[in-house]
Symmetry: C2
């Protein structure tokens, strides 16, 4: 089987280990990189190495940070009475982008999954328990995906946190913006029916 | 607008410069890389830098190589009477994978495109002319994409090479394997009709 020269094959193999990158995409990335200047390649290589070397994990919320505690945990203007539990750093950022939430966070590091062998010990569940025992908030929002793994994680955490007496909430389930009832799936529509509210919808966020 | 810590943002920005990588994909790549070991990140970074530093361009065919001339140009078993002109290195490899071609190659480095501002001077056209003047082959195969840019390039080269008296050919156009006539586009079907052959199809490759 003819092949590219070894340095290209090695580059393609390494690029092919990125998520969702097959041989064709790896080839495309490799050839794009080879057509750039050495300086541009160095910048990417340096970003990869340095991101790993300079980032810490916030000892409170487990978010990536360059200083511990992270800017959110150390921000005196954040509401310390609410902790929003999210699966991952991008989920945290998605919630920050709404501008609707001003409390603290806790990054679980994933969701429970029997199929992928993710158990509570693989997540930061114990850190969460230790943290809320030390400094109990008034509310814990479980902002976790509305998927099988997410639901499992929500049920597990809700049961685990019940004895603390802290108010435990989860994100509303229902029709996303732009959705048409005729095209909505049955579960979403069932969720939307069960979660129906008096009109006009009261804004209950962060009361 | 809330952001990830600077090293992550920088890594995402660099990854986002790969072709077809949007912000979401860059984020996914970045977080995958951050979850790996430093050793794994170093391997990717090293592959990126080293590929650029160790690769040469073959002075004959303009293919990437670690030794000049490249293994194909220096292979005594290749048929030196045929030069196959391809746009890019991956195209060369695709033809090598057929096992059907045993001649030499010439890498153009792209196709002519008025829209992208690619003119003959941006391609290795002069190298091709110098090369065939020095060592004229019996046949030049223009194995270039059947696209607007590819067709333009084929027409340009065919006209340019006409005075040399060398036999100039191009790849057959027609129905790809697995295609159904009812679903074929009109141009492909027109090509297939015009290029029709007596049955059984004679194997004319590399006669």
């Amino acid at each position: 089987m003819p092949k590219f020269p070894e340095p290209i094959e090695r580059l393609m193999a390494e690029l092919g280990r990125l998520p969702g990158v097959g041989p064709k995409t790896a080839e495309r990335y490799a050839f794009t990189l080879l057509k750039r200047t050495p300086n541009e390649r160095d910048r990417l290589a340096k970003a990869i190495v340095e991101a790993g070397n300079t980032l810490l994990t916030c000892s409170t919320c487990r978010n990536w940070t360059v200083s511990d505690p992270c800017p959110i945990c150390s921000d005196p203007h954040r509401n310390r009475q609410t902790v929003c539990v999210v699966a991952s750093e991008p989920d945290l950022l998605a919630i920050e982008h709404t501008g609707e939430y001003h409390g603290l966070y806790h990054i679980l590091g994933g969701t429970l999954s029997a199929a992928d062998g993710v158990s509570p010990n693989d997540l930061t569940v114990n850190d969460l328990l230790a943290r809320i025992r030390k400094d109990p908030p008034r509310e814990i929002i479980l902002a976790i995906d509305h998927t099988v793994e997410g639901e499992t994680t929500i049920l597990y955490l809700a049961r685990l946190l019940l004895p603390t007496g802290i108010r435990i909430t989860r994100l509303a389930r229902g029709l996303p913006i732009g959705s048409e009832i005729g095209y909505a799936d049955e579960i979403t529509l069932t969720d939307a029916l069960r979660g129906r509210r008096e009109t006009p919808t009261p804004n209950t966020a962060e009361k």
